[in-house]
Amino acid sequence: MIRSTIFCILTLYPISCIQATPSIPNILGNNLIDQTCKKTPYYDLCIQTLVSCPESFHTDLEGLAKITVGAIAQKASAALRRIETILTKKEHSKPAVREALNACASRYRAVVEQDVPETLMSLRTGNYKFASRGTNDAATEAMSCEEDFAAGESPLSDLNVAVHDVSVVAAAIVQAVIES
């Protein structure tokens, strides 16, 4: 719960999630979240991501998109932290793994420093196709990071999947914004 609160606060533009422990919401009563998540390929993840941020109950479709982008930022940052930890601890002395981790670091830096700001700016100004580009790219970066490793050697699988999937959700919500 605390982690979810943190990602809300980390969202670069003001969507403030103040409550530490939101009460279990009546999801069925909030049509927008349900309708929106139905347009994404990962309904459960979408619900979970949005519901963790209480602000999602009082915002519009664009706001929901921003919340999911905040989740991308949070998970990508977590990936960067784990990469740094592994590299400094020198646990993996395999050059191939270290190389892959460095490449992944570039990818996740691109997600945090390029994709996320581009997407938020695009949503803010209404030039939405760049939000589509940013969220789709985040998914590509995560997937490519996973594929940089030989099978079974990735120490980032859970985070790669997390970033990929939440980015796909965000991209679908952005498309819903474009088509609204």
Binding site: A110, D115, P117, K129, R133, S144
Partner: protein, 675 residues
């Protein structure tokens, strides 16, 4: 879900039947290098899969072919399907490719930069803006981010050229320095006033992210370079009208003169799901009157960005001034659809009295019909060139690789090679696009291949004496007539994007050219025709470009693009391809259908990029003749053919001469070589 593929692919794609052992010398004396693949297992598996393909093609879904041992995709019938945009489908394969195989290194990334397409020195670019010809110079403005390789901080870049190919970059013409454009100096268009002065209308994104229209004009009309621009002190001149959302109001067009003496222009927008083109009249570009009708609208198409509206002659292929009208004139209405990021156009009639435009064929109306380009091409804009009497089309060609790679290489996006657009007077229902004639000034050496015959399943390497990264290719193909007449494979429902690309074998296709291909074909980009025969014997032509095997990298676009292309009685299948490093532009039937592709090979770069002919049809042989030109770089002056030019050659010659004459001395010094 995951596409389980054997990680170690055979060296050659066995979907292409091996070329027979004996050399196929053609009557031009050129020997095609043959490769000897003897793999009977692959041949029999392949034969079985032809049957599979044919059965599927005939709509037969019964699994009568279960007895054929289809080993898990050793044979290439299913290319690694990437939808480009991961939509919940994991793209994991159990490839054992390690990072080292294709990690984006400086060599691969620097190869991607083009030789003769417009791009700034670095950073991000998108829409073309306000293209015009003035006092001897072609001017090009563009959406630019001076701070990075991603969209943001948008300002107007500026460049000039005498020939649309060799560009001189100038300082930024407009920056985001006003409250009304602080969040973006967005797209706009130029209008030449009656006295020859220029009025530039553009969209500003305000400090509150409202989209407004603003007027700018050259500070000094005597300056042919139009270096400095002034923003009208009373900006914005237009704000979103009632009923239009504050973020649904952008990209004003060039204005055209009406018979009442007023200027008229259009701005794209939407009302709910209906994309529309609003129209305004003005006399001074400061005061505006919105017409109570729209120029046009189409339900279900969403936001119309970068609307363009211009006349074309129905009788000749010269361009027309934007204000032209008359009995032999039709008007093109074009919109960039935000929904799918494609540019659509339609032909129709403009009725000035009512202010409306009516499509010739509502079934292929704007947004639901023809596209300028079936690949990567958006936010396009035309301008009239009064010197050469042509209408020229610019279009933004974005990147199809990952953001991380763009950051690494320090730039993103290109402009398409400028094209002329005109009515296709032979069909009357579509436009023709063709690279501007100045492209021929880039041509250097030429190689010709005449009457090359390829049986079904053949791949033939073309022995090009120069690099294959900068080419102009003109090719004509014919199918074996008797095979076409007698073929009983009918009426396949075909679409390039839903096919298996060049691995999708039919009776009469695919056949074409492999560009940017590695010698072993582990990376290749097929550009090809696919012919479908209907039960009544009529043939339909499809033209496709297949990115699915263009690169070993996993973070690049692997889609297959293309479309139906009208082919008239007696016409051969013709294609023209401009290859310029990471951009490939393919034109079919003289420019009736165009596909722009972005290609990012990891191996097929520099001297390892090769060219092949291929015929992957199952029944028909093909005969083809082609011309391949080596293309110069636009950064090299036209008279020189090598990078250093004759001066460098002279220096090298005398250096070598000196070396040879004094070789003893050099041997004594430990330079590591001895004669």
């Amino acid at each position: 879900m995951a596409d389980l593929r054997n990680p170690i692919l055979p060296v050659a794609d066995p979907a292409y039947i091996p070329i027979p052992d004996d050399d196929t010398t053609t009557n031009l004396g050129r020997r095609f290098s043959t490769r000897n693949y003897s793999n009977k297992l692959l041949s029999s598996l392949f034969t079985g899969l032809i049957l599979v393909g044919l059965l599927l093609a005939m709509g037969n879904k019964k699994s009568t072919h279960t007895s054929i041992p289809v080993e898990e995709d050793k044979i290439l019938t299913q290319p690694p399907m990437s939808r480009g945009k991961p939509l919940g489908v994991s793209e994991k394969s159990n490839q054992q490719l390690t990072m080292r195989d294709y990690e984006w290194n400086d060599m691969m990334l620097s190869w991607q930069r083009t030789a003769f397409h417009f791009q700034p020195k670095n950073n991000w670019m998108n829409d073309p803006n306000g293209p015009l010809f003035y006092k001897g110079w072609y001017h090009f403005f563009y959406q630019y981010n001076p701070n990075g390789a991603v969209w943001g901080d948008i300002v107007w870049g500026h460049a000039v050229s005498k020939d649309l190919i060799r560009w001189t970059h100038l300082p930024l013409s407009m920056i985001a320095d006003q409250w009304y454009d602080v969040n973006g100096v967005w797209t706009g268009s130029a209008t030449f006033l009656v006295d020859g002065k220029i009025a530039m209308l553009y969209t500003g994104s305000t400090n509150e992210s409202v989209q407004v229209q603003c007027l700018a004009y050259p500070a000094n009309h005597d300056d042919p370079l139009l270096l400095d621009w002034v923003k009208y002190s009373g900006n914005p001149v237009l704000v979103p009208p009632p009923g239009i959302g504050p973020k649904d109001f952008r990209d004003p067009t060039t204005a055209w003169m009406t018979s009442t003496g007023k200027w008229r222009f259009s701005i794209g927008s939407k009302i709910h799901r209906k994309g529309i083109a609003l129209i305004y009249d003005t006399q001074d570009f400061i005061h505006y009157e919105q017409l109570n009708v729209t120029l046009h609208g189409v339900q279900g198409t969403g936001m119309w960005e970068c609307v363009d509206f211009y006349p074309v002659s129905t009788t000749h292929s010269d361009g027309l001034d934007t204000s032209a009208n008359g009995p032999d004139v039709k008007h093109v209405l074009k919109a960039s659809l935000d929904d799918d990021r494609h540019d659509y156009y339609a032909l129709g009639n403009y009725q000035e009295e009512t202010g409306e435009w009516v499509p010739d064929n509502p079934e292929i109306d704007v947004g639901i019909g023809i596209r300028y380009d079936y690949g990567v091409f958006y936010a396009s804009k035309t301008f009239y060139d009064p010197i050469k009497k042509r209408r020229v089309l610019w279009g933004w060609v974005g990147e199809m690789d990952s953001e991380a790679a763009d950051v690494k290489k320090g730039w993103a996006s290109l402009q398409g090679f400028p094209r002329t657009v005109a009515m296709d007077t032979k069909t009357g229902i579509n436009l023709i696009q063709w690279p501007v004639e100045e492209v021929e000034s880039l041509r250097l050496r030429k190689q010709e291949f005449k009457d090359v015959e390829l049986k079904p399943g053949m791949v033939a390497p073309l022995d090009i004496q120069f690099g294959a990264s900068q080419l102009d290719i003109v090719a004509e193909f014919e199918l074996q007539k008797e095979v076409v007449l007698n073929s009983t494979t009918f009426d396949e429902e075909f679409s390039c994007s839903e096919s298996k690309g060049a691995a999708h074998r039919g009776a009469l296709g695919p056949f074409g050219i492999l560009v940017l291909s590695e010698e072993s074909l582990i990376e290749k980009t097929p550009v090809y025709f696919y012919i479908v025969k209907a039960k009544n014997g009529t043939l339909s032509t499809f033209f496709c470009a297949d990115q699915s095997r263009s690169s070993l990298a996993t973070d690049v676009n692997k889609l297959i693009y293309g479309s139906y292309v009208p082919t008239l009685e007696g016409e051969k299948y013709s294609m023209r391809i401009l290859v310029d490093h990471s951009i490939v532009e393919s034109f079919a039937q003289g420019g009736r259908t165009v596909i722009t592709s972005r290609i990012y090979p990891t191996k097929a770069i520099n001297e390892n990029a090769k060219l092949f002919l291929f015929n992957n049809a199952t029944e028909a042989g093909i005969k083809t003749s082609l011309q391949v030109w080596q293309m110069n770089s636009a950064n090299v002056p036209a008279s020189k053919s090598t990078k250093g030019g004759p001066k460098l050659d002279i220096v090298i010659f005398f250096s070598l001469l000196y070396l040879v004459l004094n070789f003893d001395q050099f041997c004594d010094k430990s330079l590591g070589f001895h004669f």
